[in-house]
């Protein structure tokens, strides 16, 4: 993977610029993390509030490196059979039925039990070979010839046991299957884990990963993101919108609006041909930004104040 893309992952700056052309505006820290992950061949553990582009980062990395993206969504009760591999039981059963007669042929002429068993042994573990192996995301990522991007999404939702199970995979890039043996990665995949911090992850897992925290972007960066995602929006309005959202984030809300919500809102503004943020319009479309009725009720009376604040900060910015 590294050798194939040596020029693409030459420096953090290069990664940052290329991501920009792909429509993913990222901060220095993010670019550095991707760079280090590629160079050191270590997984990245990405944390941050929902909607700041954690999953998107993995998608863009895959797009940038022309690699296959293998995604594994974690949930409570996820186990090896769904994450790593499973035997194709149906196929095994069917084959045993079909081969019953064959077995008679093989055994014919064998003297005594000992000989029969030793004859059977010569056939090895046919039913537990690669042909009967159903690969799941983790194994798929290891077996990928050209190195894949493995996205383990919302690792905090999975159980602690599963986390422990991941350790071997994350540090050695290999897994052990009792019936077959240890399978090593053909080409080390780039692993990204995301977490929403619903529970504290184990230290062992954290130690093996680079830790990247993606916060809400600062207004300047957010404007850049909006302009790349919704290029038709006027600069004035964009600035006003970003300032308004920044004001909203200062309030103590149940769920603060993230970047993805800002983008949605910007699209709505464009669609409705709005020239300037006014109180009525904001009140009507607030449900795009805020996802809880309580939050909306809390913000609505203060809209006037918030809007004038965001405008005055805009003016201040222009003066300076």
């Amino acid at each position: 993977m590294i050798i194939r893309h040596a020029d693409k992952i030459k420096s953090p700056q290069r990664i940052q610029q290329s991501f920009e052309t792909l429509g993913y505006i990222c901060s220095d820290a993010i670019a550095t993390a991707v760079y280090l992950a590629c160079q050191l061949q270590k997984p990245i553990l990405i944390e941050g509030p929902p909607g700041v582009g954690k999953t998107e980062l993995a998608k863009k990395t895959a797009e940038y490196l022309n690699a296959e993206l293998i995604r594994m969504q974690c949930y409570e009760g996820l186990d090896e059979a769904k994450a790593l591999y499973e035997w194709k039981y149906g196929k095994q059963l069917l084959y045993t039925q079909l081969l019953k007669d064959q077995l008679g042929d093989v055994m014919r002429g064998a003297k005594g039990l000992d000989e029969s068993v030793s004859r059977l042994h010569q056939f090895g573990d046919i039913f537990y070979s690669e042909e009967f192996l159903e690969t799941r995301p983790l194994l798929q990522a290891l077996k990928s010839d050209e190195g894949a991007i493995l996205l383990i999404d919302e690792i905090d939702k999975a159980d602690q046991e599963f986390e422990a199970f991941l350790l071997e995979m994350l540090s050695e890039y290999q897994v052990s299957i009792p019936e077959i043996g240890t399978i090593k990665a053909k080409s080390k995949p780039i692993v990204m884990l995301t977490s929403n911090n619903t529970r504290e992850l184990g230290d062992a897992l954290k130690r093996r990963c680079l830790h990247l925290y993606i916060p809400f972007p600062d207004p300047h960066l957010e404007q850049k993101i909006i302009s790349s995602q919704v290029p038709e929006l006027k600069a004035d309005l964009r600035e006003q919108l970003v300032n308004f959202v920044a004001e909203l984030r200062e309030l103590s809300l149940k769920k603060t609006p993230a970047v993805s919500e800002t983008i949605d809102w910007a699209r709505a503004l464009l669609l409705l041909n709005v020239e300037e943020l006014d109180r009525d319009f904001v009140a009507n479309t607030l449900n795009l930004l805020l996802k809880f009725q309580e939050d909306i009720e809390q913000v609505t009376p203060e809209l006037h104040q918030l809007l004038s604040d965001s405008k005055s900060s805009l003016r201040r910015a222009k003066k300076s």
Binding site: P12, D28, A29, T32, A33, Y35, L36, Q39, L40, K42, I44, L45, E47, E76, G77, A81, W87, Y89, G90, Q92, L93, T96, Q97, D159, Q160, E161, R199, E200, D203, K206, R207, C209, L210, H211, L212, Y213
Partner: protein
């Protein structure tokens, strides 16, 4: 770069970041890749490899600022050279005898009018020359080297700072410089040079003092904090100084989180639920497809159901704060905790804790329920009405209180019912065993109906007791 990075990691550990050797190696590799030209990139690289939570990241970033002194360019570049700092330090020592040898020369030079024109000859002591040449980078390197030898990183108290500064200045070769200054001051012709040199010497002294202070902040101060944390965990809750309550709050939250994450996820395969066809076939492949062993899908996550009753009356008010704090944290992490508070009337505060922040909730509770005479009888009657029917054999009931009932009826019959219905009842008494049953305390009335009665008056006690609770829950 190895040495400063090692020092940095050491400083991080002193500030409470658990940096493992493996992570240090990662950091080393990362720095090798990133280089040290871009301080911000370097910072984020170190942040990614060394800090694994957000709080740690903030600590790391402030430390980074202090350690590498980003505001000062000369210092930053000096960090590159600190790699060879040990070599430099060694190199410096041979200089010293040389300096002594030259010591006699300045007076000759000063009297010799010919050498007046060339600056190099006038200022003969090596430190003086460095000062006049304004070699900032070399000087900071020298300060750092001398600092390491003078024990700047192993200071124990704030009072040691001036001593260490003095030692550093001595190592740098301040004495020959002083003698030279003396010689210069006697010569009126050299007056301007004398003033300039003196000014630079003072500047250097200032620089050394700042360095020592910074080292103190980096290495010594956090040690005191560690010590305090350890002590706080042991000290009795009633004796905790008001000043440290904020820190105590953090500790309690940490403890609750640790306990809950340790124990809240316990799985048990049950013999009910959906038949798991896939796994059943797999398990029975050996029996020619005959379904011999059945496998079931239902896995249940066991979480203890806990009801906590907390006395907030005057007699326990100092401890109550901490107990409530712990309760709040516990409720955050364990889903099935119901909390009740009482002095005379009992009220459920589960919802209050969910809705409000700790501080607000505590204020509200103290306002509404506390400051009344204790009446366990009345409180237990309320409890019977509120929650007795919800108690099942999987429930643990915890009572936090001193059982001082102002001589009225304790209604231990209700407590008996609670005991019979629940899996177990714990009574945590903030008083020591010796004061039980003294005065109006009626703990022995309740004691028969408790699985366990324990004194609980420090954070360690709470930890130990709840650890047991969750382990067997």
């Amino acid at each position: 770069m190895q040495k400063p990075l090692g020092d940095f990691i050491y400083a991080l550990r002193e500030h409470g970041l658990p940096v493992s050797p493996a992570e240090s190696l990662d950091a080393m590799q990362a720095v090798r890749l990133i280089g040290i030209e871009h301080p911000l990139q370097l910072r984020s690289a170190l942040g990614m490899t060394l800090a694994k939570t957000q709080e740690h990241l903030i600590v790391l970033e402030t430390l980074f600022q202090q350690f590498f002194q980003l505001n000062d360019h000369t210092h930053l570049t000096s960090q590159n050279e600190r790699a060879d700092e040990t070599n430099l330090a060694e190199a410096q020592e041979p200089h010293e005898p040389q300096a002594q040898a030259q010591e006699s020369q300045p007076s000759d030079a000063a009297t010799d009018p010919q050498s007046n024109d060339s600056t190099g000859a006038v200022v003969a002591s090596p430190l003086g020359q460095q000062l006049m040449d304004n070699e900032q980078a070399a000087l900071s390197v020298a300060i750092a080297a001398a600092g390491a030898q003078s024990g700047a990183q192993t200071m124990q108290a704030v009072t040691q700072q001036s001593q260490v500064t003095y030692r550093i200045m001595r190592k740098l070769g301040n004495e020959p410089l002083n003698q030279e200054l003396l010689a210069l001051s006697e010569d009126p012709e050299q007056n301007t040079r004398f003033i300039e040199l003196k000014r630079r010497q003072q500047q250097l002294q200032q620089q050394a003092r700042e360095y020592v202070e910074q080292q103190y902040l980096l290495f010594t101060l956090p040690k005191g904090k560690q010590l305090r944390t350890q002590n706080l965990q042991r000290v009795k809750l009633t004796n905790v100084d008001h000043h440290y309550q904020a820190q105590m709050g953090q500790l309690i939250q940490q403890a609750a989180k640790k306990l809950a994450s340790l124990h809240s996820r316990r799985r048990k395969v049950s013999k009910r639920g959906l038949l798991d066809v896939r796994r059943t076939i797999a398990a029975n492949a050996a029996f020619d497809g005959l379904l011999f062993h059945t496998k079931w899908k239902a896995t249940r996550i066991e979480r203890p159901k806990v009801l906590v009753l907390c006395d907030v009356s005057g007699s326990v008010s100092r401890v109550a704060r901490f107990l409530l704090l712990f309760l709040h944290s516990l409720q955050d992490v364990l889903p099935k905790v119901r909390s009740f508070v009482f002095a005379s009337d009992m009220g459920e505060v589960t919802e209050l804790f969910e809705r409000l922040t700790v501080e607000e909730a505590l204020a509200e509770i103290m306002d509404r329920w506390a400051n009344r005479p204790t009446d366990y009888g009345c409180a237990l009657e309320d409890f019977k009405r509120l929650a007795l029917n919800d108690i099942d054999p999987k429930t643990t009931v915890i009572m936090l209180g001193d059982a001082r009932n102002n001589q009225s009826d304790g209604r231990s019959d209700i407590w008996q019912q609670v005991y019979q219905r629940s899996q177990r009842v714990l009574w945590l008494n903030p008083e020591g065993r010796f004061s039980w049953d003294s005065g109006d305390s009626i703990i022995s009335e309740y004691a028969p109906y408790c699985s366990k009665v324990e004194p609980c008056n420090s954070l360690n006690d709470i930890n130990r007791i709840l650890n047991n609770l969750l382990k067997h829950g």
